[in-house]
Amino acid sequence: MEIPEGLRYSKEHEWVLVEGKTATIGITEYAQEELGDIVFVELPEVGEKIVKDDPFGAVESVKAVSDVYAPVSGTVLEVNDSLPESPETINDDAYGDGWMIRVEMQDMDDLKDLMTAEEYAEYIEQQKEEDDEEEDDEEAEDDEEE
């Protein structure tokens, strides 16, 4: 599972590339894999303000819609115009061509709440363990019922 070093990560599986006061935002490899084939992307307009922890858009897979949450607050400078035509770019290249928006950050302190690549890797492992535990609990339940 690719987790590039130079990025920061949110609990909702967004990544952030910080360059000066500009943040480029997308969803992670883990997120796109969980979603499956992405068929539609909803993005904000240039000039819109996004608020940390609030949804700023959505990605839709064949079966469901998922909100994408703002990892930082700021004003939208740029939006990836190729995504409406080719939403599957997010599946193919989540950290590169699959970038979603570029914002001017409002408060650099927002970055403190984000994880490093190492922390995010641990976080994903935890999520997977929790999923397995849930399954084991269900299996145990099933066994009990039998």
Binding site: G36, D37, V39, F40, A58, E60, V62, K63, V65, E138
Partner: protein
Amino acid sequence: MKRTPLYAAHRRAGARMVQFAGWEMPVQYAGVIAEHLAVRSHAGLFDVSHMGEIEVRGAGAEAFCQQVSANDVSRLKVCQAQYNLLLNEDGGVVDDVILYRTEPNRFLICVNAANTHKDFCWLREHVSASVEVENVSARYAQLALQGPAAEKILQPLTAHNLAAIKSFYFAPAQAAGKRCIIARTGYTGESGFELYCDWDDAEKLWDDVLDAGSAAGLVPAGLGARDTLRLEKGYPLYGHELDDSTTPFEAGLDWVVKLTKGSFNGCEVLLRQKQEGVKRKLVGLELIDAGIARGDYPLSKDGRSIGKITSGTRSPTLGRSIALGYVAAEEARDENILEVEIRSKKIRAKVVPLPFYRQ
């Protein structure tokens, strides 16, 4: 949660599992779109063992099936099947099913997984003398092999001449050395077969069919692709386009209802609906503006609420956003432009004829 005999096989194949109707089922393996496209161009293999099977037998079996359903059961020959609707006394749909006449006085009804218990109880409640109703779901596993290459893939595994099985007919046979019912039926709009085998034989059948088909492009396919395939054909899904309060005429299933077959549940309501027309109709929609419509999203016309979406997706084969929904009957005209509300935005959609996709 219940598991089919193929659970281990699905996990080995890397399937993403989901809960569906109390069963743990594969929603996808390689990806919904890839599996969908494979079914249309080559073939896909679906585990549909979660579906229910109910046997109706006895001297009164045909009369009973006639009474509780819309289609004309008397036309079925042994080894013939039909799509049918179980109806309540108000003409509403209890379930959509496939009815197989296995013997002159014996019928196997394949029912939706979510309705197995409901249907069984309901049939038992309405049963008369000289009819026995048995829930045989635990006996049968079911695989669906669908796509243009299906027959070519299955033939080497069975001595039965598959070309001789016509559409909506079936044959008791052996496949991969296991006894099964091979039926030329399906829910994808492609040619293909549904195979009913003993619960414990499913894994061998699954593995052998996948092996036999790999050179021909056969892939395992999950519930995600099953849904996009049936939606492209405009086929209803119970719980979305059909429920207890929906009549066949509202759902555009006029062809299933044989009003002249004699008395049956809800026939007076349905006769009246045929004469007076229905108040709401199921239509196909294509979105004009960008977006994907989902079940329960509201539909409006000129600011008036006129109905709601029942199913929607982005069609992998057509590359367009399609949906099914109920609208007031007077709005059910082709080319009529409506609005669907998608997360507070009004998105334009056009009524189009069904099916969305034709081979």
